[in-house]
Amino acid sequence: MTGLPILSLMMLAPLLGAVACLKAGREQARTIALAATLVDFVLGLMLWANFDVGGAQWQFTERYAVFSGFSWALGIDGIALLLIVLTVFLMPICIGASWNAIEKRAGEYYAAFLVMETLMIGVFTAQDLFLFYIMFEAGLIPMYLIIGIWGGADRIYASYKFFLYTLLGSVLMLIAMFWMVNQAGTTDIPTLMAYNFPVKAQTWLFLAFFASFAVKMPMWPVHTWLPDAHVQAPTAGSVILAGVLLKMGGYGFIRFSLPMFPEASAQFAPLVWGLSMAAVVITSLIALVQHDIKKLIAYSSVAHMAIVTIGLFAFNQQGLEGSMIVMLSHGLVAGALFLAVGVIYDRLHTREIDRYGGLAINMPYFALFFLLFTMASIGLPGTSGFVGEFLSLLGVYKASSWVALVCTTGIILGAAYMLYLYRRVVFGVQKNADAAAMPDLDKREWAMMVPLAAVVLWMGVYPESFLAPMRKDIAALDARLAQAAPKGDAQLKVGAAKPVSAEHDAAHGEAH
């Protein structure tokens, strides 16, 4: 390990950028913001390059006892690493998406974004329970301001809803954290992950954490803040919301709920499955009837997040790995879709699906990228979406074939609403003259789309790059869960081998 406190530096760089942005004018602010996020991206790549795959569970650890009651303790495992890399990868793209779109109070806007980046990295790196909570909650303030100041028509309602929903979810978690720290006598997350809380208490603790993570995730039926927030947030806000903020809920489940309360997780798994099944079907159907492109993608996010939760609560390696890949993939794909919406929104200033049509004729390159991300959202093999959804559903099939059956309909419904959206926006006749006059992607938009498309394909074709760093951590989590994992409904029995002579026949029999 190098002596460089790289995780603290990754949090410091955007913070300094934020302070610098506050006083800067529009042009300077966006340059500073881009520079700060690119510095963080480079640091993130260094982090990935120096991460010792298969090495110690917690790497790059830092610990300074500067506070009373909790400490500045940072450190990452493979799971956190990938989410951090996702964050620092999306941030420069967000700045790019805001390049021309943000006219008023640009300095404050970029400052809010950079603060968000600091806090998100803080959430994924915190090794102290209370440090995590502070980072987790602090994100509310910049996001509230981003939605409220730079959002659309109904921004104030959306910002309140976002703030109060997530706050109510989180405060109960804080009380649960106090109880845990009081019981275990430590605030250190790795220690708490191995601590066996009394099973009876786990139920309450799980519910308190669930209240918070379910809202952040968001799970049906507490998802209603998400479509409002998404529709009203500026493009970059939506990208960050879908790309990273939603991952905080999933990260919370995988880091806290599952390892700290394995018995309670098993006990509540049917509840999570039920909510997820409902989410997949209901929100997909809602997405099918939307007139607003951003709302449609927002509902599709809820459906995808439900695939994450069923994977997490499948209690096996495939499910957990699948959830992680769905989270990463959804971060890229939903981010890219919001970006694509932003591209046409910047030109026509409407999100009404009916106002577009036939864009394939005047914007062929846009149509190409939009198609790729649509397919990735559907889960076409070869794109990142397939890998994650396949693994998640495979995992849950082991646990419950009924859940798998219902959730797989989500894939079909997903194809339905996404293709229907694509047909209405990109294909068909050019019924609107102003939409037909829109120019194709410019250089800035190319620069944002290409990296996203490349990574989506990379993750689809060779997911091993992303699975390798977290394999050991997922295995550790799986081992921790083994004590509590509910029995699957598909109880396979290995039959006695038939006495046959041919080698070929034996291999054939095993496959059944």
Binding site: S68, G69, E137, I141, I149, L164, L167, L172, N182
Partner: protein
């Protein structure tokens, strides 16, 4: 020798009395022209008093060495902690007052003197270890406060607030005095140690229980805890803003410290006699403070409800009846004083182009465009009062709720923290008006340099940088709470 030792222990109070009397003479001969000089001198006196009180806190003074005048007075670490907050609140009031009163040509020489005498009374309140000392200190503070509330003689609202405060305050004093007499009657002691010993002997008599109830009711009025909170919005709104700053900081700290001392020391042997009352007052204050604030359109009234709300959170620390709870309450109190100072100084800076105060929340519309620094400070105060991390106000809630969970009051903590979300709504409203609404551009007045400096210092304290002070604050509050729980 005993007398010399006692006089040495009460050095801060002696200095305040003597300096107050001398400055009174200066005021009598110098007239209102000397007001500014007297204010400056008073701030100097308060600073020296703070320096006199500080050693006891840092060394964690406790035990019989801190008792003066035959056990009527206690100069321990706990009283020192409270005194530092009181002197800070009083000094801030004196610094912000001239710029405000000059506008009305009402800066009189009596103002700093009243603040000094009120501080003297509050110092006695927090150091009291006898019911009589307690009452003397309380009344000295109250009488000065009534006059301060009505200080803008020509203003109807100020006169009204002074009168309301006086009538309701006298009623509360009466209730308190009745409780004191019952307690004395049923325990035979006025000293806290004697009461503790008498109550600890066995089951509590009905009369003594009534005494406890009446004393707590009287003090609940002073700390503006529900259901004795009704005077707060009117007085906060009507009193001149510097005086409101004073009420929200120094007397609040003094009355809360007094409540802690009497509950944990005098009635400390029978916590179950008052825990329920405190829990009830705490939850009711949180809810009433939060719900009452929602409909307010005057920012000073809003801060009044916010103070009721915050007192509720502090009482959770008291309800624990543990040393951790007391320390948590003191930490919250210190942070609350800083938040109030920042909030009210920011409100003082809200002035239109004629220099008249702007108090309506709607007039703050779009403040972030016209006065970004001021808006950011006020927004920080609001988020901090709401207890949203990473602002320092969160730390206060953090320690209080942690203490409650450690004391096995999980249900109280859960209800309290869930109710804090209601409070977040109205704090957000202020931020929304300042940041999301169109610019009204009413706030155009120039700010006094002293205000800017005070606001900057207080804002830095409640900013995330405040967390760097947690170790230090924790140690000091720990000293103070240990002194409180040191039963001779």
């Amino acid at each position: 020798m005993e007398l010399v030792r006692s006089l040495h222990l009460v050095a801060a109070e002696e200095l305040l009395s003597v300096a107050g009397l001398i400055l009174l003479l200066v005021a009598a001969w110098g007239g209102d022209k000397a007001a500014r000089a007297i204010s400056i001198a008073s701030v100097g006196v308060l600073t020296v008093c703070a320096l006199l009180a500080a050693p006891a806190l840092c060394s964690g003074a406790t035990g019989p060495d801190t008792l003066a005048f035959g056990g009527q007075y206690k100069a321990d670490a706990f009283s020192a902690f409270a005194k530092l907050l009181i002197y800070a609140g009083a000094a801030v009031t004196l610094i912000v007052a001239p710029a405000f009163f000059d506008r009305f040509k009402a800066m009189r020489a009596e103002f700093p003197l009243l603040v000094l005498f009120a501080s003297l009374g509050m110092g006695m309140m927090v150091s009291a270890s006898d019911l009589l000392t307690l009452y003397l200190g309380l009344e000295l503070n109250s009488l000065a406060s009534y006059v301060l509330a009505a200080f803008l003689r020509s203003d109807d609202r100020s006169a009204e607030s002074g009168l309301k405060y006086f009538v309701l305050g006298s009623l509360a004093s009466g209730i308190l005095l009745y409780g004191v007499s019952l307690t004395y009657g049923f325990t035979g002691h006025t000293s806290f140690a004697g009461i503790r010993a008498a109550l600890g002997a066995g089951p509590m008599s009905v009369g003594a229980t009534f005494g406890v109830v009446f004393i707590l009711a009287g003090l609940a009025f002073k700390i503006s805890a529900a259901p004795f909170h009704m005077w707060t919005p009117d007085v906060y709104e009507g009193a001149p803003t510097p005086v409101t700053t004073f009420f929200a900081t120094a007397p609040k700290a003094a009355a809360l410290a007094l409540l802690m001392r009497i509950s944990l020391e005098a009635f400390g042997a029978q916590p179950q006699a008052w825990q329920q009352i405190v829990i009830f007052a705490s939850l009711l204050s949180i809810v009433i403070g939060a719900l009452g604030a929602i409909g307010q359109d005057n920012i000073k009234r809003l801060m009044a409800y916010s103070s009721i709300n915050n007192v509720g959170f502090m009482l959770i620390g008291l309800a624990c009846a543990t040393q951790n709870g007391a320390a948590a309450m003191l930490i919250y109190l210190a942070i609350y004083v800083a938040m109030s100072v920042a909030g009210f100084v920011a409100i003082l800076m809200l002035r239109d182009e004629n220099g008249d105060p702007v108090e309506s929340i709607a007039d703050l519309g779009g403040l972030s465009k016209t006065r970004p620094g001021l808006a950011a400070a006020l927004a920080a105060v609001m988020f901090s009062l709401a207890g949203i991390p990473p602002l320092f106000g969160f730390w206060g809630k953090f320690v209080v709720f942690q203490a409650a969970v450690q004391a096995n009051l999980v249900a109280l903590a859960a209800i309290g923290i869930a109710a804090s979300v209601i409070g977040a709504f109205y704090y957000l409203k202020v931020v929304k008006v300042m940041y999301f609404d169109e610019a009204v551009d009413k706030v155009r007045g120039k700010s006094d340099a002293a205000h800017v400096v005070l606001l900057a210092v207080a804002s830095l304290f409640i900013s995330p940088l405040g967390y760097l002070l947690t170790n230090w604050l924790h140690a000091l509050a720990g000293n103070a709470a240990a002194a409180l729980f040191h039963v001779a």
